[in-house]
Symmetry: C2
Subunit: 331 residues, 2 copies
């Protein structure tokens, strides 16, 4: 079910990696990966609300995957957990999470999983994992300095400098969602204001969509109406496309805010590539390109802006760490 049926004489295909990804409140995923970075099997469950249930489910899923892999004559090299929040990757400990994941602070993830599976276990922040995935399998291949900026429910990312992840002095580098582009601006979950997450994340767009909806200004002619469905960023984008100028203005401001935040990153660490990732990435790509060309210093304008081509970059990056650490090979 989760392994790849391998030829015992072909060692390149016999190796399977387990990556696990905690994405916000949406779900808990894990998957098996071939050495070539092909996702062989992906499996998801909704993310439990409590620590106990969550850690139990992670363990159960890991054991299941390992069992399946053995049945399919495959070898699990190790486990990597990609999670939101601040992680000490040396110790495999989640220091503290964003407010998006409940009961998820000061948690040793390495010990219980390693004890249960007798496998090496790594843990890193999801944005960092996504950057590793781009480096190994995506558009960051061969690029020495780049950033990936992920716009989903929140905004995160990871920075590669001299081919290595930047973790920072207390493991909270690349908290890109909390780059501020306004001295006041909208309130952010973090307690500050004007963060790009408060302008351009899925949550922020949903907040704006609800505001317009409450004023009866969201729906426009031609929009399919489903009263059961909660108002979300999808409706805002749809309304803008159908000519709702208020929705369009909101989205433009969101895109400009994200882009100005990205220019700030470029002016701080001067990268040659920006990889936009997450469900809103394609939506923001053109605005980011335009704003970089308008507001970055000439010397920083050379940075390429692209959209990620990877499916599940955080997950893929988690698995790539296992490959890199255990196999120590160049693929």
């Amino acid at each position: 079910m989760f392994g790849i049926k391998a030829d015992p004489n072909n060692f390149d295909l016999e190796v399977v990696v387990l990556g696990s990804h905690l994405i916000d409140d949406y779900g808990l995923l894990y998957f098996l990966l071939s050495l070539q970075g092909e996702i062989v099997k992906k499996y998801s469950q909704s993310n439990p609300k409590t620590y106990e249930e969550r850690i139990d489910l992670i363990l159960k899923m890991c054991v299941e995957a390992a069992t399946e892999a053995v049945q399919f004559n495959c070898r699990i090299l190790g486990v990597d957990i990609s999670t939101g929040g601040r992680v000490n990757p040396h110790e495999g400990v989640l220091l503290h999470s964003t407010k998006l994941i409940q009961e998820w602070n000061f948690i040793d993830l390495r010990t219980p999983i390693s004890d249960a599976l007798h496998l090496p276990v790594w843990v890193d922040n999801d944005g960092n994992c996504a950057a590793l995935a781009e480096k190994k399998f995506g558009q960051g291949k061969g690029v020495e300095n780049f950033v990936t900026v992920i716009t989903d429910t929140g905004i995160g990312g990871g920075i590669i400098h001299h081919n290595e992840l930047v973790h920072g002095s207390t493991f909270c580098a690349a908290e890109l969602g909390h780059i501020m582009v306004s001295l006041d601006g909208p309130e952010c979950l973090c307690g500050s204001r004007g963060c790009i997450e408060a302008y351009a994340s899925g949550m922020a767009l949903q907040r704006e969509a609800k505001k317009l909806h409450d004023e009866d200004m969201l729906l426009v002619e031609g929009m399919p109406v489903n009263n059961e469905e909660p108002v979300s960023s999808v409706h805002l984008i749809q309304a803008a496309k159908l000519g709702n100028s208020k929705a369009d203005n909101t989205l433009t401001t969101a895109g400009v805010a994200l882009a100005v935040g990205i220019v700030n990153i470029l002016h701080t660490v001067n990268l040659s590539l920006v990889i936009l990732s997450g469900v809103l990435a394609t939506h923001y790509e053109n605005t980011v390109k335009h704003v970089v060309s308008q507001r970055a210093l000439t010397s920083a304008q050379g940075a390429n802006v692209v959209t990620s081509e990877l499916e599940e970059p955080a997950l893929l990056g988690a698995a790539s760490m296992v490959l890199d650490y255990t196999a120590r090979r160049i693929y």
Copy 2:
């Protein structure tokens, strides 16, 4: 005149370094440094407006210093030029300067100076040099990750990551003055808006002081008046201290803008120390500390904020590069 009189039997004191610093339009400095980082002699001239005159003067000053050093039985180890603008330190070439220095683009500084003096020559950006100085002689000693932010005429700085300078992919990392903290905000010399340089630099404060002056709202009772003197940031600060609330508000906004920019740096590369430097540093220190405690993520709030204790950090850093490269010793 510029050397240190050395005991030929004491090799530690016999070594002298020449550092040269182009500070904006104000002046061209050079100095001699003992191995212990003590400034033995500092000499300055006003910075000529044209390339020809400037390069001639640099050469003349270098030759003078070298001659003096020999007369005093000292040895010049090398020359380092610290300059505003973007520098390729590997090739000793100034790629392009800020608008503050005229006729200062695509200039090979290494060749003419090296040819004239038969000495190794290094070149780097002044903000980067200042960071090196803090690392070697200042509060960055023994600190793995820190930033120095310099508020003078403009705003610049340098970032140390894993004990090394961050130069970036096109040598324009740490363009800290052009971190934007507003989607609109005041116009900046760089062509964008809302840059911290446009809020909190000496130029920005002067612009605001002039505005108030033109409206007859700058001077308050008790302020010494000198009609000959051009209106500057000094007057704004003085007026604020004497109770001018408009001047005080302007300065508070400037400080908050600078601080929000600094929080953005912390959220990007997560440093453990912020060293404020430049003539306005002490003025901004408290505001920066306060804003970091209010608006940085809990995990980034541990960053220490201090004011530089170094005299001429850019110059000192330039000289420290010479020491590091030629002597390869730990001091």
